[in-house]
């Protein structure tokens, strides 16, 4: 098991957000966290990446217990995060945005390097000396994903990776994520675009009020109109 989350409880101050969800992810698997806003998806991500210390429960990653570990140590352990919101360093050039993030892993076959990231996102190689703030939304997202890849993660967590992007750009990002999946990289994806997620991901977890209320593969999710209406309806 690559990631094993056991009875996770977490919150902010006196208000508890997560009430004990448990889930796990295998090597090379792509899963999603689904559910409406405010149900605990981002809180779960914050716990995984160490930005929020869980109150109870355990998080095991690659055979090591990581809950409560400092976030930079979790990144070194191989959990790569593409956080939501504005994702690039505007005061650094595109080149620097990528180079600042390198983590080398000697055990890794075919590691991600600066050159390989540019091969993967050719758009970025045209804009290397541009400031991060001069990129389009899609380019910024590619840069954020590229920066996470520079840490050579075993698991990539994408929080709202396509939010606020034009449909055609979203398609490009999904295509890139497909290509990453083909390399065997495990991913946790949070997104609103259910159609794309059903096509792209292997398994899904529906989060409602801090608990996982439904889990299953893409075929089961497509077939289950009830769960779509009850928890994912817009």
């Amino acid at each position: 098991m690559l990631l094993d989350v056991r009875s996770l409880e977490a919150g902010y101050g006196p208000s508890q957000v997560l009430f004990g969800p448990s889930f796990s992810i295998r090597e090379g698997e792509v899963v999603t966290l689904l559910g409406r806003n405010g149900m605990g998806k981002t809180t779960t991500v914050r716990c995984l990446s160490g930005l929020l210390k869980p109150m109870r429960g355990e998080i095991w990653f690659n055979g090591k217990r990581i809950d409560g570990a400092p976030p930079h140590a979790i990144a070194h352990a191989g959990l790569g995060l593409v956080p939501e919101g504005r994702r690039i360093f505007a005061n650094l050039s595109v080149r620097e945005n990528l180079q600042m993030a390198g983590i080398r892993r000697p055990d890794r076959r075919d590691p991600w390097s600066f050159e390989r990231v540019l091969d993967f996102f050719p758009r970025l190689s045209e804009r290397l000396s541009n400031g991060g703030n001069q990129l389009s939304g899609g380019e910024q997202q590619m840069l954020a994903i590229g920066r996470a890849l520079m840490t050579n993660p075993h698991l990539l967590v994408l929080d709202e990776a396509t939010e606020g992007l034009a449909p055609i750009i979203r398609q490009q990002i999904w295509a890139k994520l497909e290509a990453l999946k083909a390399t065997g990289l495990a991913m946790i994806v949070i997104d609103k675009e259910l159609d794309a997620l059903v096509r792209f991901a292997d398994r899904h977890f529906v989060v409602e009020k801090g608990e996982i209320v439904w889990r299953g593969d893409s075929a089961a999710l497509e077939a289950d109109q009830n769960v779509q209406d009850a928890y994912l309806g817009v």
Partner: protein, 338 residues
């Protein structure tokens, strides 16, 4: 504050720093031609404060940490040189070590002492941020200040006069011209080394952390460690500047390390421009010269000075460095290509 352009690389970025060093190098020639050695004295003061401002900007401009203890660290550097020279002159050992007036010993000693102090100040104050960081560094500055006042043996409030002849190995450094070039060499070295560090991976992470802490942590960087190292580097350089001030004017006093002096250093930095390594050197030059010129005209010089600072900071968002960048064909707020 507007997003600053990323640091470019190559000759264009370094050209202004090289030009600053060359122009300063010419001032003794001007002084000789005009027969006015006072110009060299002013130029030495410009260079010393330029080193201090460049050092401070390493944490302010690139680390996002406005420190108010740098005058304190600056003064401690000066006191290390002064105290060692005092023990040399009075032939009295300092604990078990002999004193010295040789800058080959006392400047590295100042760098080490101030570096250690900066490590302690940084380790504590970097646990906080924003206004709390300001307050803690200010408190440390005042501890250094009152520490110097309490040094009765070394002049206390009146300051410490260096009575011995300051040397650099075999060279007598009481020669004003020679000393000026020594200080200028340190300024050139400081701008070169800090420029390299700012462009290194360490510098990238430091700059990135000044913008968004969460996001640098997400790529495995512990910002606290990077900031602490940056704070110590900055402290070492500002300590060297203080050592040069004391050695150059043969005098150091608590006045040089008051909290208002820390504020002056911040003004020099912002006035010159926090977006480049060399900008604060311009700010220090403008500050020292304006202080001198305006105060010779009127005792209310700070009023005029304040207006000028406001005009420059509002008019040129990148500080005086914007003027320099204009001269080199691009505005500092735009982005370099190639």
């Amino acid at each position: 504050m507007a997003d600053r352009a990323p640091i470019g690389s190559g000759w264009r970025e370094r050209a202004p720093a090289v030009l600053i060093v060359f122009l300063l190098a010419a001032t003794p020639l001007v002084a000789r031609a005009l027969g006015d050695p006072f110009i060299v004295k002013v130029a030495t003061r410009v260079v010393v404060f330029a080193i201090a401002a460049v050092a401070l900007n390493f944490v302010v401009g690139f680390g996002g940490l406005v420190s108010l203890c740098h005058a304190g660290l600056f003064g401690v550097g000066g006191y290390v040189v002064g105290v060692l020279a005092w023990h040399d002159f009075n032939a009295e050992p300092l604990l078990f070590l002999p004193g010295t007036s040789n800058l080959l010993v006392s400047i590295p000693a100042a760098a080490v002492v101030v570096g250690l102090l900066a490590a302690i100040v940084g380790a504590i104050s970097l646990r906080t941020s924003g206004p709390y960081f300001l307050m803690i560094t200010l408190a440390f500055n005042q501890m250094f200040y009152y520490g110097a006042v309490a040094l009765q043996k070394y002049g206390g409030e009146d300051g410490l006069q260096i009575m011995s002849n300051v040397t650099l190995g075999p060279f007598d450094m009481s020669d004003r011209y020679r000393f000026f070039y020594l200080a200028l060499a340190f300024l050139a070295a400081a701008m070169f080394v800090l420029g390299r560090v700012v462009r290194s991976r360490f510098g990238m992470a430091l700059r990135a952390a000044s913008r968004n802490e969460t996001r640098v942590i997400a790529v495995g960087v512990d910002p606290w460690r990077y900031r602490l190292v940056a704070f110590v580097i900055s402290g070492v350089v500002v300590g060297i500047a203080g050592a040069l001030l004391a050695a150059g004017q043969q005098f150091i006093s608590p006045v040089d390390m008051g909290w208002d002096r820390s504020g002056d250093l911040v003004v020099m930095t912002v006035l010159g421009g926090i977006g480049s390594v060399w900008g604060p050197a311009l700010g220090a030059a403008a500050f020292v010269v304006l202080e001198l010129v305006l105060s010779s005209w009127t005792s209310h010089w700070q009023l005029a000075f304040g207006l000028l600072v406001i005009l420059i900071v509002v008019g040129l968002r990148g500080g005086l460095a914007d003027l320099g960048a204009l001269a080199f064909g691009r505005r500092g707020t735009e982005t370099a290509h190639g």
